[in-house]
């Protein structure tokens, strides 16, 4: 992956050159709801990846284990809005699976598990 300095702050080329190259200005009309902590993971039945871009393949490699959308964006070093487009592509292809639950207020059992977990670190 190109170092951030090579593109993000490239005065001559403009600040959005690299993200645009990656997503070609596409929007996400049918995109799933992707939040910061939505968990994504590469499907064990991923399709042929030869037609994928470098960034898509990088996401597939990262998501060999479940990760949040925010983590994928951070490791890929691209803004969230860009990573959501890239993830949507992969989800549409069935190459990435997504946790299909909206953010909810944690219930008592979940809070108890988190409490025990934090105490244990």
């Amino acid at each position: 992956m190109t170092a951030r300095e090579d593109w993000w702050y490239d005065e001559a080329a403009g600040p959005l050159v690299r993200p645009y190259a990656m997503v070609r200005g596409r929007t996400r009309p049918n995109a799933p709801d992707l939040h910061l902590v939505t968990q994504v993971r590469a499907s064990s039945f991923a399709s042929d990846q030869t037609s994928l871009t470098v960034e898509h393949r990088e996401i597939m490699a990262l998501c060999a284990r479940p990760l949040s959308v925010a983590e994928v964006a951070a490791y890929l070093d691209v803004p969230l809005v860009v990573v959501k487009v890239l993830l949507s592509d992969l989800i549409e292809r069935g190459d990435v699976i997504v946790q299909n639950s909206p953010p909810q207020i944690p219930d008592r059992d979940l809070l108890q598990a988190v409490l025990d977990g934090v105490r244990g670190i």
Partner: protein, 194 residues
């Protein structure tokens, strides 16, 4: 679109989050780093120059944009649950981000530096107005602990039900204790509500 199937279910954990809020330099990133199992990560949202959140790239090309950074850490609770901690600046122009962060959150830690109490006012207002459970953690910068917990509570005009604790954000045990206090506070609030 492929959603999690039965055989995949076990390996995609439930994600929960806690927001670490407070003014600039109050120790948010430090606290995230103290308890996180990974070095704090950074991700960025785009804003237009006018401060409008960019949630779609259509039509944004050529416009001047700026970014707002979110620092976050991770605590893997067990194979089924993962906790994320988001440190984020409490400034009005970033509220769009707070809405997403606060939705479904366990609650928030508002860090305060008693030398600049006012820098944490906007965060407190935000969580109070949305009814999101929060605790106030006074980060004890060296020699800067000028006030007692009660004085801070009074100065911030906090309800008696809001826990106020002293902490050292650089210290793992101290930061853990703050998180434990917040989670217990959230559980109490949940119980009071039913």
């Amino acid at each position: 679109m492929v959603f999690v199937g039965s055989d995949d279910q076990l390996t995609v954990p439930t994600a929960v989050k806690i927001v670490i809020a407070g003014g600039f330099g109050t120790g948010k990133t430090t606290m995230v780093g103290s308890v996180s199992e990974i070095a704090p990560l950074r991700t960025e949202e785009l804003l237009t120059e006018a401060g409008v959140h960019v949630d779609d790239l259509a039509g944004i090309e050529g416009k001047d944009t700026t970014t707002v950074a979110l620092d976050f850490g991770r605590i893997t609770i067990n194979t089924k649950v993962v906790l994320y901690l988001f440190g984020t600046p409490g400034q009005n122009r970033f509220w769009f981000m707070w809405d997403e962060l606060a939705t479904g959150a366990i609650g928030a830690v508002v860090l305060v530096d008693t030398r600049r109490l006012d820098s944490s006012f906007p965060s407190i207002d935000f969580f109070e107005h949305r009814g999101i459970p929060f605790v106030v953690a006074v980060n004890c910068f060296d020699g800067a602990q000028l006030y007692t917990v009660d004085e801070v509570r009074h100065a911030l005009d906090l309800d008696d039900s809001i826990p106020v604790v002293l902490c050292d954000a650089r210290d793992r045990e101290s930061s853990k204790a703050v998180l434990v206090g917040l989670i217990q506070h959230s559980m109490n609030r949940l119980e009071a509500a039913v």
